[in-house]
């Protein structure tokens, strides 16, 4: 019954679309992207885009890229090990990873391990702060990370090949092909990374043992222009990796973990006058194997197959009003050694609207409802405005309700899962201020998040740990992002900085949540002149508490790196780069009893042909 009501508005929109078909030709844009909501319906929040030059100067893990360039805090269980974000003081399950418009957080864990995504496989990576569940569904509470593969039509044939070699026998190889005609465009990336990862613990007579890893990934994006109005696209991302889980200062380790992920998406886009129609189908497969002792064959495992069909229709009512409806059906089928085999079905509908009242003022509205047999899902909304008060000053307001659904492990863990769980829900509001002067852009955003029904695994009376909707957390804070650049002589000097202040605590308590720093800051200074560029990067991570009574903490730390690049005029370009990481050889831990490496080195060669 309910379902019908919800689909009605979308059906109505569909009828309009059929009626409104006309022959007028809409010129196809040169670059096609899949995550159009990031472009069209994210104007009332802060979006920070990291382009390929930033990506190429950072190590290939998503952890490293975002840790050194954004406000997001990471806890990394030792270099290259399991890594989870805390965005605006939220948990790892409250940040969504969006791959070409599709949420790819693990259905088993509800989060993404930021060390099992290779950054070089993507054309751009964007960080959207704040609530986004209306568009992106579960987990977009603290914010969302968008991994995009752009496709460009027009004649081109570009190859690039990159080799990295660094301390601890860390080897990276990356190949990228971009080829296209007026009708076809492809973008293929293949990456292979491996490391012995056996660094000395600075100041200790110990090494990082059993930390070796390797992974291989391939990302394929392909577009075919059927005619002037219709484009077919296919995206595929494969990742296969094995990590040994390193020991700690207190315990040796023999365990290892294997990840296999496959993501496929087929999309048909039609441009019909004022309508843009997108039909997407996706098939996602995730699988892990955990070996307690790598020397024997016993392992535990879990896997989930996810099938998604989505219809996304945009209607440009006028030059100033854009409507977007999205209907989505998702089926998950999970299985594993410790979970009950379950299939779950989730249907959802969203309506989005953007109205540019004038060149200075626009607002965005969104509403979404999900229907599933597994849990009760709240009605979500988002309201935002963007107002250019002056040429140099824009103010953005946004408020939204967001959610995070219970994971397979929460619901179906054998013997202790709790099928009665509700989703976590949040109400949140933010005020963003954007200042633009000649060479400077400064964004300062204040926010508040009220999170309820937070899932926590707690001991029950009989000693069994079970998830319950018991957490009530209030978080507030401020983020600021600064970009400044200036031409000096024949070169350009550029500064990028971020700073986050975060207070996150249980309702009625004064203790900060564990592993949420009050302060985090990043800074990078780069100078490029002709074929040479030099850059310096710095990270400050404030103290974090490691117990809920705030009696135990990890000291704050400062880590810097220095790098230089030189481009030779050979082939279509030959780049040579050298980096010194942890320049000042800081002794630090990001997670307790897991020291991070001291000063270490990386060099790379980049051929374009």
């Amino acid at each position: 019954m309910k379902l019908k009501k919800i689909f009605l508005p979308f059906l109505l929109l569909l009828c309009q679309f059929i009626a409104a078909q006309s022959d007028s030709v809409i010129k196809l844009k040169a670059v096609v992207i899949s995550d159009t909501q990031l472009r069209d319906f994210s104007n009332t929040q802060s979006v920070q885009k990291l382009n390929d030059s930033v990506i190429s100067r950072n190590s290939p893990s998503l952890t490293s890229l975002l840790n050194y360039n954004t406000v997001i805090y990471f806890k990394e269980n030792g270099l290259g090990m399991v890594s989870s974000p805390s965005f605006r003081g939220t948990t790892a399950q409250q940040t969504a990873i969006i791959w070409n418009g599709i949420n790819i957080n693990s259905q088993l864990l509800g989060q993404t391990d930021f060390n099992v995504l290779n950054t070089r496989d993507f054309s751009s990576i964007s960080v959207k702060a704040g609530g986004g569940s209306v568009v992106y569904g579960s987990s977009a509470i603290g914010g969302s990370i968008h991994l995009n593969n752009d496709l460009t039509f027009g004649d081109q044939f570009k190859n690039s090949l990159r080799f990295d070699y660094g301390s601890y026998n860390t080897i990276g190889t990356h190949y990228n092909l971009k080829a296209g005609t007026d009708k076809i465009s492809t973008n293929v990336s293949i990456s292979r990374n491996s490391s012995d990862n056996d660094y000395e613990y600075p100041g200790k007579d110990m090494k990082n043992e059993n930390g070796q890893y390797y992974n291989t990934s391939m990302n394929l994006a392909f577009a075919y222009k059927l005619n002037s109005k219709n484009i077919l696209r296919f995206y595929n991302y494969l990742f296969d990796g094995e990590r040994h889980f390193s020991g700690t200062l207190a315990a040796p380790s023999k365990s290892k973990y294997q990840d296999t992920n496959m993501r496929n998406m087929l999309e048909w886009t039609g441009y019909y006058n004022r309508f843009t129609s997108r039909l997407k189908t996706a098939y996602l497969y995730e699988k892990y194997k955990y070996f307690e002792n790598y020397k024997n064959d016993f392992f535990t495992f879990g896997n989930v197959k996810t099938f998604i069909v989505r219809y996304d229709l945009t209607y440009d009512v006028s030059n100033s009003i854009k409507l977007n409806s999205i209907v989505d059906y998702t089926q998950n089928n999970g299985d594993g050694s410790d979970i009950i085999n379950k299939k779950r079905n989730i249907g959802s509908g969203s309506l989005l609207m953007k109205h540019s009242v004038s060149t200075r003022f626009q607002y965005e509205l969104g509403v979404r409802k999900e229907i599933t047999d597994t849990y009760d899902s709240p009605l979500l909304f988002s309201v935002g405005t963007n107002f250019a008060v002056a040429d140099f000053y824009t103010i953005k307001l946004n408020t939204s309700r967001n959610f995070r659904m219970p994971t397979y492990n929460d619901l179906y863990w054998s013997g202790s899962g709790n099928p009665e769980l509700n989703p976590e829900t949040s109400y949140q509001a933010e005020i963003g201020n954007v200042f633009k002067f000649n060479n400077t852009t400064l964004t300062v955003t204040g926010y508040y998040i009220k999170l309820r029904d937070m899932l926590r695994w707690i001991p029950s009376k009989d000693g069994v740990w079970r998830p319950e909707n018991v957490g009530r957390v209030n978080t507030f804070g401020a983020e600021s992002i600064l970009n400044w650049h200036k031409r000096i002589g024949a070169g350009t000097l550029e500064f990028n900085g971020t700073y986050a202040y975060t207070v996150s605590r249980e309702d009625g308590k004064s203790e900060q949540l564990i592993y949420v720093p009050f302060h985090k800051a990043t800074a990078s200074l780069a100078y490029g002149w002709k074929n040479v560029s030099v850059y310096y990067r710095h990270l400050f991570n404030g103290e974090v508490f490691t117990t809920s009574d705030n009696e135990y903490k990890i000291d704050p730390y400062n880590v810097s790196s220095l790098g230089a690049e030189y481009d030779f005029k050979l082939f279509s370009g030959l780049g040579l780069g050298f980096q010194v990481n942890n320049l000042w050889n800081e002794e630090y831990q990001n997670v307790d009893v897991r020291p991070m490496p001291g000063r270490n080195y990386n060099m790379y060669l980049n051929f374009n042909f």
Binding site: T91, L249, A251, Y290, N293, F298, S416, D462, T546, Y552
Partner: protein
Amino acid sequence: MKLHKLLLTVILGSFLFVSCSSDDNNDSKPSGAYDNGVIVLNQGNFLKGNASISFLSNSFVTENNIFSTVNNGAVLGDTGQDIGFKGDLAYIVLNVSNKIEIVNRYTFAKVATISNGLVNPRYIAFHNDKAYVTNWGDGNIKTDDYVAVIDLKTNTVTGTIPVVEGPERIIEENGKLYVAHAGGFGYGNTITVIKTANNTIETTITVGDVPNSIETENGKLYVLTSGKSEFSGSESAGKFHIITLNDNKVTTTLDFTGLTHPSNLVIEDNRIYYTLNNDVYTMTLAPSVLPATSLFSTTAQGVKNGINCFAVEDSRIYVGDALDFNSNGKVYVYSLQGALQHSTTVGLIPAGFYFND
């Protein structure tokens, strides 16, 4: 807490991160003597390396983190499981670290470390110049469990005695070892009797599901089983057994009613004490029925997740509360009638009391 429940946390890639840092304490100098009081073993969190030792003197002065303080900030290890005293030495069994730290029991100065030959070590017992340590082996493998034999003169593992899955508590009486098989990752229901003379198994005694505590007194073995938890999918209630040691026969079995899961059997001054959830019970050494009412409850002190560790000594009852398992725990001391005498804060997850007197 059971390892496999904690493993879940790891697999979840999750967030019960806890510290081992020694900065939680003030600069109080070690007294140099930790006699005349109780040593509290704080288990710490799985894979967080924050096990610690607290000392509570008979006059109720608490000193936390004594191992690290005495030994120049050294990390004790991961998941403190048991402490055994032998002569002037204390043997601290660290489950996830796969080691035993040997310290002077009165000063806690480090003496030696045994780190070879132990795989998931659990509990320790002694006989003559040997120590016997139960080991799970790899948690997921049912057939590699053993009792390690340690030569105390060389502090090396000199032999192993293979046993069935999940050997947990171990005690020695008259040259025989009694090993309770709680089951490790699974669910055990036996007591293995081992002759130390030749390290062979004399017999196996079947008891209720998951024997969690054993004691000997006057030629009898007292066994408390918790029953299988709801987690198992085939929940069962606890049992109480008395076994005569000369013929290894079960002479008394008392069944707990409902699906209740008692633990922490202790014998002191000819009384039996045990706990059920947050309550303390007592009965005679030859009970015909289980007590219908508790001696007292600890809920007034805020204990709500079950009594994590328990002891009775010199007319005092000691209760350890792990709170949310991610904060410094509490120890409560009561009279034998259950009147609260003292409460204090110890380290993360108090898991055992060991009396130095």
